[in-house]
């Protein structure tokens, strides 16, 4: 079946603008994660959704970052008033209930100029 998809694949935006990044998880996967990967760096946890539970937002770096997951499926990560340090690849991953394996999407490369 289809894997995790993310859009757009690339996004260039001016400093101060807002951006929305979208993630479509694998159908039926109840858990969804957002990570940030800066150039040559590791995976930085941002937020975790599990079913209808309140999301774990402990990794969001500032209040400019927020995320929603509508209907337990698609998720949107919003960055307001973007800064140059927000430039990174934003990766989404989903996981099936009862499994531990996370399936990653191809990521959105965000460049803030």
């Amino acid at each position: 079946g289809a894997g995790v998809s993310q859009s757009p694949s690339n996004k260039v935006t001016e400093k101060g603008k807002d951006v929305e990044l979208r993630c479509d998880p694998i159908s039926g996967h109840t858990a969804l994660y957002w990570y940030r990967q800066s150039l040559g760096q590791g995976l930085e946890f941002l937020i975790y959704f599990q079913g209808n539970s309140a999301p774990d937002k402990s990794g969001l770096p500032s209040d400019r970052f927020s995320a929603e997951r509508t209907g337990g499926s698609v998720s949107t990560l919003t960055i307001q008033r973007t800064q140059q340090e927000d430039s990174a690849v934003y990766l989404c991953a989903s996981r099936r209930t009862g499994s531990y394996e996370q399936y990653f999407g191809p990521g959105t490369r965000l460049t803030v100029t």
Binding site: G42, F104, P106
Partner: protein, 112 residues
Amino acid sequence: GQQVMQIPQYQHVQEGEDFTTYCNSSTTLSNIQWYKQRPGGHPVFLIQLVKSGEVKKQKRLTFQFGEAKKNSSLHITATQTTDVGTYFCGASLAGTASKLTFGTGTRLQVTL
């Protein structure tokens, strides 16, 4: 917060040589996962370790979880050019088994 240290950051080997990356935590872990990210690609799950002292093998890859469940290693025997990529460990604390803290990764370069 929990920190996961991974060493080395980078290793360059000749094809046929062995390679090992190590993952260390200051706190006891519930489980640890390993992922591989090819250049330009996204992380792909390799394996999960749960039990103290557990050793698992996948062809030329050997994964080990420490007795104290605070460290893990990935060993590749007789590397091939297809092994090129960055290897990440993802660790979860007891009680937070669904949330992973990733190490900084080890980038492996293999040349002929």
